[in-house]
Amino acid sequence: MQITIDDRSPVPVFSQLISQIREAVRSGQLKPGATLPAIRQLAVELQINPNTVAKAYRLLERDAVIETGPRGSFVHLEGKKHSRVNLGADALSALSQIVRSLRTKGLTDSEIRNAFVSVMKE
């Protein structure tokens, strides 16, 4: 299974990695328990910063699509199921609903933005 990145794409490289690994798990190209390349190996092969690969792996691990242990990173046993869950998209959807309801109540965009910044600072 190949993974491709494009520097000219507006999508950040770590997002490109995440979406392709997620898609590979969802489609069954990567089976549960399959070994993923080491961070350094993938970074060398794709000629990108190892921190970028580490960030992608960390976020996939957070979503339980992959798991990392002392012997490397593997596809999570429930990875196929978890790969359907996209926390980023869920957050976007939830925030859209809130913003829509606040606008209905008459709040301006700058008030909503200030409120959001205040909440994020907490």
Binding site: I3, T4, L36, A38, V44
Partner: protein, 296 residues
């Protein structure tokens, strides 16, 4: 020198050494380079040449002149040795010293610096904007067969065991220096092989544009060379130490034949590898309009 089998053998090896190392192999290598420049011009394949074409051509001209000068010098030594050597041993000594000059001078003074500059230049080039990689954990056994790995470790261990035996039972003033050199080199090779076997396979790409299949082949060759060198050096170490401890005896004149034959084979292997790579390598990735790169 008297005419016998030893004299004929030494004369034949010395003559072939001059022809192969100083004339035939460099000529074939230069021909490969010329063909490369002709078939894949720098204007259409700019990514293939990290150094200016003129600089490469100048280095190749110096390389040719050096080889020819050393080749004619070696021929003069050959004729002089044939006429004036007091014994086959002295003839063999001339051959041994000649092979060192013939092989190492052009290699270390011209070829190696040029190769380092080209490698550095290739690595400094910006990678293609679209890049692919295989989403799998590479292991050394993907590149080299377990038999090859076993041979490397087995024969190198044999060499080190021989070192231990010589140290324990035949240590004297004649064996101490060969023992230190052979054991040190053998231990280094064993370390390299162990690291190759255990470390994650994240070796740097030879150049950012090399196609996936070629990257795989380069790595395969690199790993095979490491284990092959371990196996070969294990045999050599065993032989060398047994010879130093005088457990096996060979006429000293013949001792100069072995390195000469090995270096001739090495030179032929180098040029055949260059030709093989030329025939199989995917050069389309170096075109100016090529923006993609396949997975290794």
């Amino acid at each position: 020198m008297t005419s016998n089998f030893q004299t004929y053998l030494l004369t034949g090896v010395f003559a072939s050494q001059i022809i192969v190392i100083s004339f035939y192999a460099p000529q074939r290598w230069r021909r490969s380079c010329a063909l490369l420049l002709e078939r894949y011009p720098a204007e259409q394949y700019p990514r293939l040449y990290p150094l200016p074409k003129q600089e490469i051509e100048r280095k190749l001209a110096i390389f040719k002149a050096t080889h020819l000068a050393i080749g004619f010098g070696a021929t003069a030594v050959f004729v002089a040795a044939l006429l004036f050597a007091r014994s086959p041993y002295w003839f063999a000594v001339c051959m041994g010293e000649s092979v060192v000059v013939q092989f190492t001078v052009p290699l270390y003074i011209i070829a190696l610096p040029l190769w380092i500059r080209i490698s550095k230049g290739l690595r400094a080039m910006p990678p293609p904007h679209r890049r692919s990689a295989e989403l799998r954990q590479w292991r050394v056994t993907d590149f080299v067969s377990p038999l090859w790995i076993g041979l490397g470790f087995g024969l190198q261990t044999l060499g080190l065991a021989c070192s231990a035996a010589v140290y324990l039972y035949w240590l004297n003033a004649h064996t101490i220096l060969p023992l230190v050199i052979a054991t040190g080199t053998g231990a280094c090779l064993l370390g390299v092989m162990t690291y190759t076997l255990l470390a994650p396979q994240g070796a740097a790409r030879p150049d950012p544009y090399l196609s996936g299949a070629d990257t795989f082949r380069v790595r395969q060759r690199r790993y095979r060379m490491r284990f092959g060198a371990g196996a070969f050096y294990g045999i050599f170490q065993t032989f060398y130490l047994l010879l130093s401890a005088q457990l096996i005896r060979i006429d000293s004149a013949y001792q100069y034949v072995i390195p000469s034959v090995l270096l001739q084979l090495g030179a032929l292997l180098l040029v055949s590898n260059a030709d093989y790579g030329f025939a199989t390598r995917d050069f389309s990735v170096y075109r100016a309009d090529s923006g993609t790169q396949a997975a290794p």
